[in-house]
Subunit: 363 residues, 2 copies
Amino acid sequence: MATHKILLLPGDGIGPEVAAEVAKVLAWFTRAGIARFETETDLVGGAAIDAHGVPLSEAAMDRAKAADAVLFGAVGGPKWAGVPYAKRPEAGLLRLRKDLGLFANLRPAICYPALADASALKRELVEGLDIVIVRELTGGVYFGEPKEIVTLEDGQKRAIDTQVYTTGEIERIAAVAFDLARKRRNKVASAEKHNVMKTGVLWKETVTKLHAEQYSDVGLEHVLADNCAMQLVRNPKQYDVLVTDNLFGDILSDVAAMLTGSLGMLPSASLGAVENGTRRALYEPVHGSAPDIAGQNLANPIAMIGSLAMALRYSFGLLEAADQLESAITRTLASGTRTRDIAGPGANAVGTTEMGDAIVREL
Amino acid sequence: MATHKILLLPGDGIGPEVAAEVAKVLAWFTRAGIARFETETDLVGGAAIDAHGVPLSEAAMDRAKAADAVLFGAVGGPKWAGVPYAKRPEAGLLRLRKDLGLFANLRPAICYPALADASALKRELVEGLDIVIVRELTGGVYFGEPKEIVTLEDGQKRAIDTQVYTTGEIERIAAVAFDLARKRRNKVASAEKHNVMKTGVLWKETVTKLHAEQYSDVGLEHVLADNCAMQLVRNPKQYDVLVTDNLFGDILSDVAAMLTGSLGMLPSASLGAVENGTRRALYEPVHGSAPDIAGQNLANPIAMIGSLAMALRYSFGLLEAADQLESAITRTLASGTRTRDIAGPGANAVGTTEMGDAIVREL
Ligand SMILES: CC(C)[C@H](C(=O)O)[C@@H](O)C(=O)O
Ligand SMILES: CC(C)[C@H](C(=O)O)[C@@H](O)C(=O)O
């Protein structure tokens, strides 16, 4: 039995609480003799700032490089609002994405039937919703240079961010989207702002060309990012796979996640290029660190446990174990077990640890 | 009686149809002796490209500068998809915004009670919704340089867009938001991505400082743009005035508009700085050119007629006439007159011209 090396980075806020439930699940798989994991835990974000003065230590970065998969909780919180820009908690996550080359961020937005009423949208618009946002994660305005604030002669400041994309960066993320669509409903929508951005012009042109040359069997639609945000609210089920850049992906994937009413349930995968049959990968819940409910046993651990299920499937090739874990989550929900975020008004809710225990019991 | 100089720029798609209904309303005000208008009409967008080879002629630009207010329809459509970037239809609108100095874009998102069921959101979440997005309109990634596509040595292309903001640009748009909030529910939310963008850092810092120095009586909340998009879907009524940059404003205002279920009903105002007691202004519907329904007498002219009401109020000081027009719209809706977009499934719908006529009758 192969040993799978996992780096667990719980981070801040509710991160450590939901990560603790993942550790329980990992322990169960080991006890059951289904897989062997070598799990290391390290600090990231505010927790790493407090301990080491930086949001990700070199040692943690080295461990991430050595791991088969990174399981990431969440970072940030008001405590670190005054930290200098280069050392803010988020910089730890951005460095992991960049230095591990995790250019493809897959964010499924699935509406669980049992939770359709938790959506802000009318039930019929979201029931059965199953879309994936494929977000470019190592380019665009997140990393382009110059990125600076300068003081002008008159005392004013001027801030600059630079959005950069090359043909190659766009091709490889579009290929991920087309490949994924082929295994699904075979439809890709590509979102940009070619009407005001040169990166949008290149994006649209490159996606169009790749489609014609290699993926003409897949349906392709181009949509302006502003209109796409509208369409996600109006009729999200029109989409299957939605590919977009780093910044639009940040916003559109959050809108899509919120539509499902299941924000606390949605995992995500950030993948690197395939090299020698393997690829670097980081798995994290779509939700953030939620400092307002941290430390109170209120957080929903399902997004984090679902992120482990994605790791089992995409990084470790443990397809059966992944199915097993996902169906344990489904059965737990079907039995009516709910954390507060999905309980509905007036209903009984369990805590983070109880939800984790219930899922382990179902396993 | 003063004469108010209006430049009407119908543009493309449904633009000319909805602009024709505005012309009817203007004619009524003149006939009734309530106001005197001198209305010129010119081309913009694709229509101007077809006629002059550019999306806005110098003559049209001069007329816009000479007008007290510009009433703008919509631009763009598949017909001009192949036009070079610098001459695309949208460039006409962007030039108007930039050269008239229209830095403040006010986009109210109001949910009309009679139309609450047309929203994708549950009725209780949107009924009574009344927020205004204050979008910075002449800066950011829309206009920053460099903005180009270069071909690299290896044949790849690299595209660049630059987001730039200065202290002064942020201060003046924030001041518009704070001033507006004081006349409303006295709350401003400011959206940026200070966790990944230097322009976000400067944005947050500048808004915070201006608030402390001049607007500490107004409630202020900072929100990350991705979270803001989520919150708009989850619980839009938490907001009053929402101020943000050009690109985030493009997306967030579209989300907010779509929430209301009244997209075809929402006007917007783009305002310049006050100089000698007057300010340049352009009024336009929030919806686009909708080429799919153009020329079929299907478009809802209310957003365009509502844009005229905003012009009456903000540019011409005709407050009573503005009230009169808005209450004519409300009465027309109350009487059950509906264009197709707001008719609800199975209900009878009138055309663009009939809706315009009905509003003029109510006047
Ligand atoms: C934490 C933050 C840097 C991050 C981002 O903006 O990418 C988050 O919002 C996300 O979507 O993963
Ligand atoms: C037409 C286009 C250039 C414009 C924009 O992106 O600003 C539109 O989407 C808007 O919001 O007014």
